[in-house]
């Protein structure tokens, strides 16, 4: 099994090598700039430098990460390390940056290996000695070959593989009962990229309930007297230590407000240029529909409407809704918190071990995706990847996973809009989806029925097949029909609205599955 695991890892690494010449987005320049900033400036200037518009807006550990990388970068092409060399992308620079993503992905590969070998409790063992139907093998392919990670990291350009590696590692350690290590990794992760703060409530609740309180009653309710101050102190020390290491230097330099202002820029709009498929996409469309209706019946003036059109043009900006009330950041925050509360409370009442924790984590990620402020479509990976870990264990989870991964991955399509990469994204997406459906349903021994995809209900099947129709319309029919000129935003709008329906459906479904799960004592037993 170990050999075939490394073969899968090698295969995907070599596929990533082949993607080196593909298109890269402005994020490539963002990271090049950070390499230059951290390499050629002293630490106290890192968060003040603004030659490039892509200022450093990740936490200090990520800056250090770039600083370390920059020393290797010098061997490839020292010119990429000059701050003034904006948009510098020599062949050596491209190869170096791509390789840095591929190499740091080994953190992710290692974490996947740890999970597959130590944490997976599959619904069914594979048939005999056949490696290809072995659940660990299937999960390894699903995680390492994740469509979203491949295109976001290795085409679009980001370091999510590395970051998700740290996240997975912390999940693995929690599965193994090594709670302190889990906390350590998660605290580190937060200091690499602060977006993971959205899943912090799950960590907080799990560690409080299962580590600080040492035992539960038979029905799962808490024994208040079992609180361990020692455990609490240990946890606190680790977290304070990590944050101290990260932010300490800036606090001592008196730069903390500046760093924080870089990390949390609230000047961005409710939605990203391309709307992530979440609640706000539906809200915007509802507003749009209402405003058109209003315009027809004379409630609204023309000036309101022109404002409306600019929103759909795809610029990042604050904008006023025409009919429905405009949304302030604090509203999204309140909604997010409100929708997390049931999950966290349920986890307190029924602490179903590491799996309960993972469900809580996924629900936190869901809530922040559905209601968050200025959510990127890429954030869907924060749900899909942890959900993959559950997909081979329970049938209903597998069902949610198949619908959500297909929907979520399709919603990433607009990220790659260049013609040369279109066949790549289509091939990869189809391969991932077909592989997922074949292997996951094969594991549960569920064949596809008439008019029905395996594991899915008829309605869900219809929805998933509808995604195919949607994509055909958006990438082909729309321009063939000549609508591209008049309504250029329609394909993006349709994609985010259609996918939003699927994402919210999966969220509610997964919520229901989690809340109806009662306390099972054996779950708490650690691996």
């Amino acid at each position: 099994m170990a050999t075939s695991f490394w073969n899968v890892a090698a295969t995907f690494t070599f596929v990533k090598l082949l993607l080196i010449p593909s298109y890269h987005s402005t994020d490539f320049e963002v990271h090049r700039n950070w390499l230059a900033v951290t390499h050629s400036l002293p630490m106290n200037k890192w968060y003040y430098e603004k030659t490039s518009e892509w200022t450093l807006d990740y936490p200090p550990f990520f800056a250090l990460f770039e600083f370390v990388l920059s020393h290797f970068a010098r061997a490839f092409d020292p010119n990429m390390l000059i701050v003034k060399n904006l948009n510098y992308a020599s062949p050596a620079t491209v190869v170096f940056q791509r390789l840095s993503v591929i190499v740091t992905d080994f953190v992710y590969i290692f974490a996947v290996k740890e999970f597959c070998f130590h944490c997976l409790k599959p619904a069914r063992r594979g048939s005999g000695s056949d490696v290809f139907t072995h659940p660990s093998f299937i999960l390894a392919v699903l995680l390492m070959g994740n469509f979203g990670l491949l295109i976001v990291d290795h085409i679009h350009f980001q370091y999510n593989g590395f970051l998700f590696g740290v996240m997975l590692l912390s999940i693995v350690r929690i599965y193994q009962g090594r709670n302190l290590e889990g906390a350590l990794y998660f605290a580190t992760l937060l200091n690499f990229k602060h977006i993971y703060v959205y899943i912090a409530p799950a960590y907080f609740m799990y560690l409080l309930r299962n580590y600080c309180f040492k035992s539960s009653k038979k029905d799962g309710s808490v024994i208040w007297t079992s609180f361990s101050f020692l455990h609490f102190a240990r946890l606190g020390t680790i977290v304070v230590l990590i944050f101290g290491l990260s932010f300490g230097p800036y606090i001592s330099m008196g730069q903390l407000p500046q760093v924080l202002s870089r990390l949390f820029p609230f000047k961005r709009g409710l939605c990203h240029a391309y709307w992530a498929p979440n609640f706000w996409a539906l809200y915007n469309v509802a507003d749009k529909a209402a405003s058109i209706k209003g315009l027809h019946s004379g409630f609204l003036s023309q000036s309101n409407h022109t404002n409306q059109a600019s929103m759909t043009g795809g610029l990042v900006q604050e904008f006023q809704h025409a009919v429905l009330p405009s949304i302030a950041p604090v509203v999204t925050l309140i909604l997010t918190v409100l929708s997390i509360i049931p999950a966290v409370v349920h986890h307190w009442r029924y602490p179903n071990g590491p799996r309960g924790f993972l469900r809580c984590l996924i629900l936190c990620a869901f809530a922040s995706f559905v209601f968050g402020w200025h959510v990127h479509e890429k954030a869907i990976l924060m749900i899909i990847i942890p959900l993959s870990l559950l997909a081979l264990e329970k049938k209903r989870d597998a069902q949610v996973f198949l619908v959500l991964s297909t929907t979520g991955h399709l919603s990433l399509f607009p990220l790659l809009f260049t013609q040369a990469e279109t066949p790549i994204k289509i091939c990869l997406m189809l391969m991932y989806t077909i592989y997922a459906f074949i292997t996951v349903s094969g594991l549960f021994r569920i064949p596809s029925g008439r008019l029905r995809l395996p594991l899915l209900t008829k309605l869900e099947s219809l929805y998933v097949i509808g995604l195919l129709a949607l994509e055909i319309y958006c990438s082909l029919l729309h321009s063939v029909l000549g609508l591209q000129q008049f309504y250029p935003f329609i394909p993006l709008l349709l994609t985010s609205v259609y996918c939003a329906v699927g994402v919210i459906y999966c969220w509610l479904m997964f919520y229901w599955l989690t809340l109806t799960e009662k306390y099972v004592e054996s779950n708490v037993k650690l691996e």
Binding site: S4, N7, A10, V15, F132, C427, I438
Partner: protein
């Protein structure tokens, strides 16, 4: 869902994905005016065939300057170019406008050209390989069949030249595979047609002609079900008809046909062009034949040695015509041509790699070794085309998939990643085969790294290409001996299953007739 349609779809998608990834890279002659490379040659042929009347395609006229990438492939290539040209003119007519379009290069044009190769590949080569391995009797499970076809479809050599460098080898090679499939299933006539199509797409397929000829002749003489001469006559007629159809527009005029022939076999070009891993080029390190002998005697020398070396495998096949031997004879014949014939391109090694790919499941280790060296022998060309990165990626990918999905036999424990043997505790005294393989690979890696990093001395600018040629040539000579030995030592009688399937097929067709 074992063996379902979806698995097949996955294989096709995987093959397409790899091809498209390679096609993102540079191509032959990118941004190198005034003469460019194969990419411009193919585009120019689209321009010529689309704009000029068919009688002018192969002739030097005021509108057709044969010195600038004149058409020198057989008619099927010309028709294919015409078709692509017609599509191009619909998409963007400036790509094929006469004279003005020379040296056209753009993002969208590259996309267009790349897609024409992918389409050709999807229509001819990819289905041929999948059908071939699906019908292979030696592979028992559907998964093994699909996995083997995937590995073969991911073979870097053909992919890098077609989708990187830019050529349409997938069509001629694909037709050859279809011919082998047809012969394997006893349809000698269909097989002949398919091979004639291959030959009429690219004259280099002549490397494969001798084995096909010997097999058909030999099996006609051994046939028991029908009149031998009648069968031979049928095959002859079909071959002539196919050729006549392909050449039809050029047959009205004797001069035109002769001109076409002259275009196809330009003996005036010299014994070899760039550094090629064949005998003559390697010999040139010691003796410069070009200077010692006249062109005529060089041609005669090449002809004699090629024919002499061709004899053993051809005679063997003629006397004992089985499809198994046919495949081996295809390897041997193409290797002999590559090593000894006149005017060889480094890319011509692909013609030898094709039948080796078809034998991959028989002896995976030896075939893999040959295939890896064959890709390596084209390394200087790949450097020139800017394809080093995809070369590394595809080769590593091919190796990984190869060792993890095929049974490498006793050598497996010395191949990292080999999935068949889980317990490496056995014999740790390395086998001779493994030592030879790894030292051979070490040489390839060493030469590759050296040619990328070390500047050759100014007195020997071609040092590394020559070294790579000689190194690969040595391998090819040994592999020629090996494949000859394999061919001569394999079973005399066709395996029982083959006889059975052939007879059942015959009886089936008889039943249908009744």
């Amino acid at each position: 869902m074992e063996g379902g349609l979806m698995h097949l779809f996955l294989v096709v998608l995987g093959a397409t994905l790899l091809r498209w990834c390679v096609s993102l890279n540079s191509y032959s002659g990118a941004q190198t005016p005034p003469i460019y490379g194969d990419y411009e040659a193919q585009r120019h042929w689209m321009e010529i065939t689309y704009n000029l009347p068919i009688t002018e395609w192969y002739v030097n006229t005021t509108n057709n300057d044969l010195l600038y990438w004149g058409l020198d492939y057989p008619p099927l290539t010309a028709y294919h170019s015409w078709l692509c040209g017609a599509v191009a003119s619909v998409v963007n007519s400036t790509w094929v406008s006469l004279w003005d379009s020379r040296g056209t290069e753009s993002y969208t044009h590259k996309l267009f050209m790349r897609s024409t190769v992918i389409v050709a590949d999807l229509l001819v080569y990819i289905p041929a390989v999948i059908v071939y391995f699906t019908l292979t009797r030696k592979l028992t499970s559907t998964r093994d069949r699909l996995l083997t076809s995937l590995v073969v479809l991911l073979y870097p050599g053909i992919v890098l030249i077609d989708h990187g460098h830019f050529q349409y080898n997938c069509i001629s090679l694909g037709f050859t595979v279809w011919a082998v499939i047809a012969l394997e299933w006893g349809h000698d006539l269909l097989g002949s047609v398919a091979f004639c199509l291959a030959l009429n797409y690219k004259q280099m397929e002549l490397y494969h002609a001798m084995p096909f000829f010997c097999y058909l002749l030999g099996s006609s003489f051994r046939t028991k079900t029908e009149n031998r001469f009648f069968k031979l006559a049928k095959i002859g007629l079909v071959v002539i008809m196919t050729f006549a159809l392909c050449w039809l527009p050029f047959l009205y005029d004797k001069d035109l046909a002769l001109q076409l022939l002259q275009r196809l076999f330009p003996f005036a070009r010299g014994i070899y062009e760039d550094k090629v891993a064949n005998v003559w080029c390697s010999l040139a390190v010691v003796i410069k034949l070009k200077q010692l002998l006249s062109l005529d005697s060089v041609i005669r020398l090449c002809l004699c040695t090629t024919l002499a070396a061709l004899l053993p495998s051809s005679l063997d096949l003629l006397l004992r015509p089985t499809v198994e031997r046919l495949k081996l004879a295809l390897v041997n014949s193409s290797l002999v041509f590559f090593l000894f014939s006149f005017q060889v391109h480094e890319k011509s090694i692909l013609i030898a790699t094709l039948p080796v790919c078809l034998l991959l499941h028989e002896r995976p280790f030896e075939c893999m070794w040959f295939l890896l060296v064959a890709t390596f022998s084209m390394f200087p060309l790949l450097i020139k085309d800017g394809l080093v990165l995809p070369y590394i990626g595809t080769t590593l990918l091919f190796y990984t998939l190869m060792v993890s999905s095929l049974d490498m036999g006793p050598v497996a424990i010395y191949l990292p990643g080999s999935g068949t043997t889980e317990s490496p505790s056995k014999q740790w005294t390395p086998s001779l085969k493994a030592v030879m393989f790894w030292s051979s690979m070490l040489g390839c890696v060493g030469l590759s790294v050296a040619s990328l990093t070390i500047m050759p001395p100014t007195s020997l600018p071609d040092l590394f290409p020559v070294l790579i040629s000689v190194y690969s040539c040595g391998h090819f000579l040994l592999f020629t001996l090996y494949f000859h030995w394999w061919q001569l030592s394999c079973d005399v009688e066709p395996s029982k299953s083959e006889v059975k399937s052939r007879t059942t097929q015959k009886s089936n067709t008889k039943k249908k007739r009744l």
